[in-house]
Amino acid sequence: MSTATEAESGALPGLAPASKGDHAWIVAKHFALFFFLVLLWELGARAGWIDPLMFPAPWGIVKQIGFIYFIQGNVWHHLYITFAEALSGLFVGSLIGIGLATAAALSLRFREYIKPYIIVIEATPRIAVGPIFIAWLGFGFSSKVALAALVCFFGPFVNTLTGLLNIDAEAEELFRSMRATKWQTFWGLRVPNSATILMAGMKLGCASAFGGALVAEFISANEGMGVLMSRYTYVLNMNGAFATLLSITLFAFLLFKFADAVDYYIVFWRSDKLMQRKSKKRQAAFLKSLG
């Protein structure tokens, strides 16, 4: 769970944020390094130092990317499929995770009873259930969603549970002193309190869900990025395999950024700017309600 909070910032720890001017320069340096590495790779491939089977030349990959995206166009469909599988899996998994966590938070007895099962489920490599899901649900969409959900539900589950239970003792006392009902405490204190950590859990779930969908596709499917990857590799079309891999990376990154944005807007009290905006909105709404 610790990697959840590191992944949140999207950068390595210990790096001071740079000023705007510095920022451009730093980005330029990154690009410079990147192009240098790519150049090295290209030269190595052409000179025959690098086995074209292991690492195809970058230029070949670029051409292939151009081909599959703009000429052949198949990849868009596969991308969409995998994306849909991953997102659905994330959604279902989060729902299950949050639901279980809520039930566990509300009832001590329930929590105790499920504890051993949770420990076993956590210890089991859940992705291994893939072939069984395929056998149960077939080669199509649902088996992928099922595996993605199974793989990623743990993050949201643990995080929601922690968020709902670990509230400031004095805040809880405050609510009790105001004779709040169990539900009022739940919605007014526990839920907002767990928003941050829940978001972190869901972001963790992004990568897992993607992974789950891909593995299910690897095992057996007709469409999706995983299938593309398998096929290209099978016929030793390394350009294609790399192109597919890069696509997966890019879109997983986009998904992560999207989750980041959602997190930013939901947990608005972490950002001054957002707080100000919300402040104004609420002020306006309040005044309006006064008539």
């Binding site: 730093i26 009832s107 210890a123 259930v129 526990r190 990568a207 891909l214 590799t233």
Partner: protein, 291 residues
């Protein structure tokens, strides 16, 4: 799911169930028996599709068959596969942790390295490492090395980021204290940085072990002659779900084994977070005191 999430000020005023010790155990057993019992009854009354979800007795039967050695009436076939996968996972774990920690130490010592590494680290974090599976198989072939390679790939990131964070985020005031006592670089590292990063480091190790097992199993899905992953694959495709679930159970065992090992490590190394351990170590140090 740690004790912290379970017992920490639950919504119910009690944080501990009234029943303790044996009664608790009996409760858990009762719940388990009920679940299994209902399931078995469904089988008895032919409510279950044998193909999809065999009765517990079938699963247990298959499990026993796999695990019992021949002189006890079973086939004992699981042992070979179990240890192959175990070996793949453990090897991948050790290599992955070595790589991760080395990278982390380098990044902790050199800010420049850290800055240049950052974007690649982020990209790596969001890509499901599993996606590279077909490529790994293509590169490393069908033997053990591809499984170990995938296990390494999947598991090295957690120790990397956790060790890095632990090394960098040393309590500022403790650093100042060390400076005021004129500590040199080595003393600072061994007496402060290293011990204070232990909790995060161990957490990273736990994630790594889980990841390594995952990587090994997924690689086996693709191409293996031995290992629990390929067993699972084969059983599922033959629609022998009973055996597949029995294999899953075996995998759970492996996972629990890893979990236990890690918990013991955590228990012994990070003794200062648990009261009982602190008391024990206290006594030890007092007894060892010589002056």
């Amino acid at each position: 799911m740690t004790d912290a999430t379970i017992g920490a000020g639950g919504i119910e005023a009690r944080t501990e169930l009234a029943e303790t010790g044996w009664k608790r155990l009996a409760m858990h057993i009762l719940v388990f028996v009920i679940i299994v019992g209902v399931w078995e009854l469904a089988g008895v009354f032919n409510q279950l599709n044998d193909l999809l979800l065999p009765a517990p007795s079938v699963i247990i039967g298959k499990f026993a068959e796999m695990w019992l050695p021949t002189f006890l009436g079973g086939t004992g076939r699981i042992y070979y596969h179990f240890f192959i996968t175990l070996w793949e996972a453990v090897a991948g774990f050790f290599i992955g942790v070595s790589i991760g920690v080395s990278l982390a130490v380098t990044a902790a010592v050199s800010p420049m390295f850290r800055r240049y590494l950052a974007p690649y680290a982020v990209a790596f974090n969001v890509t499901p490492g599993i996606a590279v599976a077909p490529l790994i198989i293509a590169w490393f072939g069908f033997g053990l090395s591809s499984k170990i390679a995938l296990a390494t790939l999947v598991c090295f990131f957690a120790p990397f980021i956790n060790t890095l964070t632990g090394l960098l985020h040393v309590d500022e005031e403790a650093s100042e204290l060390f400076r005021s006592m004129r500590a040199n670089r080595q003393q600072y590292f061994w007496k402060l940085q290293l011990p204070s990063s232990m909790p995060l480091f161990i957490a990273g190790l736990k994630l790594a072990l889980t990841g390594a097992l995952l990587g090994a199993i997924v690689a086996e899905f693709f191409s293996a002659s031995a290992g629990v992953g390929i067993l699972m694959q084969r059983f599922s495709f033959k629609l022998d779900i009973g055996s597949a679930l029995a294999t899953l159970l075996s995998m759970s065992l492996m996972g629990l084994l890893f979990f236990t090992v890690m918990e013991i490590l955590d228990y012994r190394v990070i003794f200062w977070k648990r009261d009982s351990r602190m008391q024990a170590v206290s006594k030890k140090r007092k007894a060892a005191w010589k002056m």
